[in-house]
Symmetry: C2
Subunit: 331 residues, 2 copies
């Protein structure tokens, strides 16, 4: 098994109110780089920030890293349009961050990024890939792609209150700018990615299509962004078995019927509950309160932990120790 | 422990007769990329070649990978001037391959590469780094740097017959072009790297200086190129403990008194003998016959295997199985 993490940026995230990471410009730009460093090294190495929400809720990278400390798995970070560099080793798939989807085109190099990623997905030697993402603003671009594809489901948020009305407004502006009516790219998923997507979603779709074509088992690890990646793959006409591993925090959220949508797309769904509410550690309990919910492949990491028989209490303990290491490092 | 592998190219390698990898242009350009993929994935993934010598002797990457399959260790590939891209995840330290050292300047960006690498070496979270290299032509550039530093020892070769006279001739042309008399850069090691070195040696020196400054244990893994890196670090005025882990094939070679030089430089030397002559596998026995000898951190990987109590017979078995996998993949 190899854990693939696609990281990047989209200028869409700079729209006021869109992204939790956007609460500060520093977090916005450095979060994907820091997330990759946390998964790779256990703490930020070059990134000047530790991604925590204003309430202290840590990035899901901490949970993914903690599982990795319990079950050593291989990691491959795919760089898909970072705004700042990361000290994690990466394979470069896209050089430029995505444009604001309110512009006419959001991923000008979508075809090259997709093809490069597809090639890589087919070449990786592993029989199983678990694929996660870190891109602030990514649920908004996902909503844009869903609109272009004509998929009716919505997206969640890493914030407690999902600014869904704002996201729909942004998407509406983008759809108009791109000249793409709702569902107009149903048979042209690359066009949906190019006009309304982001480089991370584009790279993820490419890796998945390539890996499925090479008969690998593919598990998308995440929430509605990864469900959007799955939908995009289906619009490419790929019918192979495909899985989504997500957290209970996504599954129990009211905004999206993740089970129903997965069924409709013929995606096998796994939901893992780390039960952070059983801890006295307030920052982790924020997850139970609706913060963060998913990201950086957290659902996939928890899925693997459960599959390997690691008790969730061990995952929680490791997460707390990893979190404290991060906070003390920065203190 | 983290195993750091610096990969790159120098145009010096294209000089007829300099490099074993230079026997074919394909191997010359693709060897470092393929070596990184072998260490990372167990086989070339994007590189179109499997680096074997004309006699079938496999790249030392196979041995390093085999040890990694026995004792899982973290790998960090540093890209320092690759001529072609690799599918291994990397951190980019230098964008351009080194120039032919017969030119006036061989690493125009030496200062930036060194500083970037020094910063990284200090930031890595590990208490111990083991550092190897893959750069065709690297012993010739090493000889160039030694000449600029005024270090009297020579270099070995991955070929059975070391073309040392040719290397000295190339270095003499380079020294003249750079206007640097023998030993003229004794107090200016960055100048030695810039005029006579290659980007890999520059990045390795940077990582080592940064890591030692951060009080890490550093083990250079390799032969005379890594000994040159050690010498360069000493010329930077760094007196911290430093180690070299190499193979018996380097230690028993007549061209360089690796023990004597290590002592002179205050480098603790470890020599590991994988005893390939005990195998019937002809391609591995080529090592005993003086081919390849070292590279891609092989000596360091063997050192770690021995430290972890892995019998060399296991390393040999794993190497044979890894080699056969590679050959069959390409067959």
């Amino acid at each position: 098994m190899r854990f693939v993490l696609a990281i990047g940026s989209t200028h869409t995230a700079t729209i006021d109110g869109i992204s939790a990471a956007g609460a500060s410009a520093d977090l916005l730009f450095h979060t994907p780089a820091a997330d990759a460093e946390i998964v790779e090294y256990g703490r930020p190495v070059r990134a000047p920030v530790t991604p925590v929400s204003p309430s202290g809720c840590p990035t899901p990278a901490v949970i993914t890293r903690s599982v990795r400390e319990l079950i050593d798995f291989d990691v491959l970070v795919i760089e898909a349009g970072l705004a700042v560099s990361t000290a994690a080793p990466t394979i470069q798939m896209a050089n430029e961050p995505g444009e604001d989807i309110r512009e006419c085109v959001s991923v000008p190099a979508a075809t090259e990024v997709f093809e490069r990623a597809r090639d890589l997905g087919g070449r990786l030697p592993d029989e199983e890939l678990i694929i996660g993402e870190s891109i602030p603003g990514g649920t908004t671009t996902a909503l844009g792609v869903l609109s272009a594809l004509g998929e009716p489901f919505g997206v969640s948020s890493s914030m407690k209150e999902n600014p869904l009305a704002l996201k729909r407004e942004v998407v509406a502006v983008g759809v108009k700018a791109s000249g793409l009516a709702y569902g107009a790219a149903s048979d042209a998923p690359l066009e949906a990615l190019r006009t309304m997507g982001d480089p991370v979603l584009t790279a993820v779709a490419g890796v998945v299509v390539g890996a499925l074509d090479a008969e690998k088992r593919v598990i998308l690890a995440g929430g509605t962004q990864m469900l959007t990646a799955a939908a995009t793959v289906r619009h490419f006409g790929v019918c192979d078995p495909l899985e989504l591993a997500t957290t209970a925090y996504i599954a129990r959220e009211g905004d999206v019927d993740i089970k129903g949508v997965s069924d409709d797309l013929d995606i096998a769904l796994s939901v893992t509950d780390p039960k952070f509410e059983q801890e006295t550690h307030e920052e982790l309990r924020a997850y139970d309160d609706g913060e963060a919910k998913e990201g950086v492949g957290m659902g996939g990491a928890l899925f693997v932990a459960e599959r390997e028989g690691v008790p969730m209490s061990h995952v929680r303990d490791q997460t707390i120790s990893c979190y404290e290491r991060l906070v003390n490092d920065n203190g």
